[in-house]
Amino acid sequence: MATAEIHVTLKPTLLDAQGATVLKALHQLGHTQARNARIGKYITIEIDDAQVGPDLAQRLDLMCRQLLANPVIEDYEIVIDDAPVAPGTARATMPAVAARVAAGPVAATTTSLASEEVKTLGGQPINEPFALDYSTYEVMTTEERLELREKAFQKHGPWIMRQIQERRAAWILCVGNEVVESGSTLDTYPSDEHLDSLGNARDLVPWVFTRPPTH
């Protein structure tokens, strides 16, 4: 399955009113180093394997011109990622853009949730569940672990959901800021032994998130 990522942006010569407003807000927050903010759309499209051929790029270009972008006011950029992703088995390679997104939540460790801080045994607040070392996690009680999971989801829920949706996965396994494994059914859910060895090897907590039931 190939995935195409399409970025649609206003032509650089046009005033991006949304971007200008966001820039103003950034400046008001003290981020005076911000110089130019432009807002666009990010569209991902999965392409049927059987139809992936030499004219894939042309086909996507046509999609952009016909529908996804309005050439009068918008530019577009197409990135095709056709790295094979074997569900539930080998480590999934993340496309470059997704990797940048993935780096986001872990970097933002300074903002902590105001209420109900989860603490380590030594009383230190844990701001970033994704960055917690495995040895600390191992000695936590089940309740603490559940709280920590809750916190991870509160903090990074949209990112987690996006990773699941992008892979059409039933579950994903994250270590640090990376999705290292995923599976299309719960039958392939990783074993405790596997998680334990992974946690010890990387000294980071291996978090597994599953797709919520659909109604």
């Binding site: 206003l10 046009l14 005033l15 009113a17 949304q18 407003t21 759309k41 529908l67 996804l68 309005n70 009068v72 006011i73």
Partner: protein, 244 residues
Amino acid sequence: MHFGIIVFPGSNCDRDCAHVINDVMGHSCRLVWHENTDLSAFDGLILPGGFAHGDYLRTGAIARFSPVMDSVAEFAAAGKPVIGICNGFQILCEARFLPGALRRNSGQHFICRDAHLRVEHNENRFLQTTNIGDVLTMPIRHGEGGYYADEATLGEMAANKQIILRYCSADGLITPEANPNGSVGNIAGVMNREGTIFGLMPHPEAASEILLGSDDGLLIFRSMMEQITPNRALTADLNREFVL
């Protein structure tokens, strides 16, 4: 005159238009679902305001591919008048029936208030009952009303007298302050080259009864009903009559 009012999923000014055509002006109309393709019964078409297909992707981007749109093109090609109001204007631009595009208002906000419009040209099917320089008042209500076309296109449009309404002050001056949404050249309404299709962001149907503050919008509908302006197709008909 019998009007067809095209209803897309998410149109919401269709019944206001029908009220004006039927009850205020005493003409007839029918609502036409966007999947219908037979427009042969009508003398004029209205693409009303609203949020067709939820404005997903871009305003008008999906509606442009509705089955009715090919018939709209044929309708206009036959010389009959088509007006797109607000979302209808956005759809006509997305369909490339009109030049340019509409983008987010420069001030980011959805705007809902009266606007003043100056008549730039009246020798056309849509403003023939007005005078050049007239200031019309009617409401605007949109989030994506900033008209844009590149310089070359604007030059061509100006030469063809396609830019027929501009936002202005109460006394008819075209000023930056009178521009509510960042439209280039204060443009509020444009026609296609042939003069058969007209799109505007303001709502003439919401300014058609003095009880509601203005009936300037009637001038536009009346203009559509009077067949005196020579556009190409009509000119051909008139000539034939003359010869007979």
